[in-house]
């Protein structure tokens, strides 16, 4: 297939993730939708790497995977800490950063 088809799939997955981040209230599902957006960016990077014929885009995709893994660890740690303090797990209620 042409590279443009892969970019179209990437754009569609990215927009679906953006709609999910805006709509959902659970921070777990918002982290999942952020994963969708990062994976869509990875697909675009791999498509451009195939278009140019060198491996720079694949290196960028691996670095994006590292950043996504760090984001998942910190985000889920925050969710567990919020749950332990018996606070409501709702993104509209999480607007203060006091201990």
């Amino acid at each position: 297939m042409n590279i443009g088809w892969y970019l179209a799939v990437s754009a569609l997955v990215f927009c679906t993730g953006a709609a999910g981040v805006l709509t959902r209230r659970s921070p777990l599902v918002i982290l999942l939708c952020l994963e969708l957006m990062l994976n869509a960016a990875n697909l675009a990077l791999i498509a451009f790497s195939r278009m140019w014929g060198n491996g720079d885009g694949q290196i960028f995709a691996i670095i994006v995977m590292v950043v996504a893994a760090c984001e998942v660890c910190i985000g889920l740690g925050l969710v567990v800490a919020i749950f332990r303090r018996r606070l409501p797990i709702d993104v509209d209620e999480m607007r203060e950063l006091h201990g």
Binding site: M1, C15, A18, A19, T23, I63, I74, G77
Partner: protein, 223 residues
């Protein structure tokens, strides 16, 4: 043949993405994301990125999704929002925003000056996408991002442990609860001396010849 595989994997990836964004249960949303990641790995294979496809399956669908499943199993019962989502207005606004973003991205793709988007990419070289090429690139041209990514992973691991650790006891409420209960009991309650009979002797137990020493004491007490 690659067109059929592309449409199967692409439709699977988009269906998984829509499932993640719309399914109510967080556990089923995680499963939808796993299926989306597997279809995305198939798309990576179609783009001749073998190492990144394997890393996608091992790192994402293996490790990160297992972490998600554990946190959903731990927090999942309370993760349902107390009140429903932000109402039909917010949902319609988010769908309109996503549609406008998709239209903008399609205009950017179609109207870009990159003529190679309409082709199948550059001519395939035998070493493209192999671990050999990626390892060489990581240690020569991209050495600094590679080392920075290592430090970032270390900082994230330490931060996650600090965030999720317990702070004394099982629960702060339990410590407060145990501290307020006034427990009063006679001295020696629950010890071995109580079992022998030296503390709080049970009436009638003294006359039984349980042991030689106990017998002597009971005889003395009988006098």
């Amino acid at each position: 043949m690659s067109a059929v595989l592309f449409f199967i994997a692409g439709i699977g990836a988009v269906a998984g993405a829509i499932g993640v964004a719309t399914v109510r249960n967080p556990f089923y949303a995680v499963l939808a994301l796993v299926s989306h990641l597997l279809c995305l790995a198939a798309l990576f294979l179609l783009l001749r990125a073998e190492f990144v496809a394997a890393a996608q399956v091992v790192v994402y669908a293996g490790a990160v999704m297992v972490l998600y499943v554990f946190v959903v199993a731990y927090v999942g019962g309370a993760a349902d929002p107390v009140r429903p989502a932000g109402g039909p207005g917010l949902r319609a606004a988010s769908i309109v925003f996503a549609a406008l973003l998709f239209a903008e991205l399609l205009i950017a793709i179609i109207g870009s000056g990159l003529k190679a988007i309409d082709t199948k990419g550059a001519a395939y070289q035998p070493g493209f996408g192999t671990p050999n090429q990626i390892g060489e690139l990581l240690l020569t041209r991209f050495l600094f991002p590679f080392e920075t990514a290592s430090f970032l992973l270390l900082i994230a691991a330490v931060g996650a442990v600090v965030l999720a650790r317990r702070r004394g006891g099982l629960d702060p409420d339990h410590d407060e609860l145990m501290r307020t209960i006034p427990v009063k009991r006679p001295l020696g309650t629950g010890t071995t001396r109580e079992g022998v009979g030296d503390v709080n002797p049970t009436p009638g137990m003294g006359s039984l010849p349980i042991a030689v020493g106990a017998g002597d004491e009971s005889q003395e007490r009988g006098r």
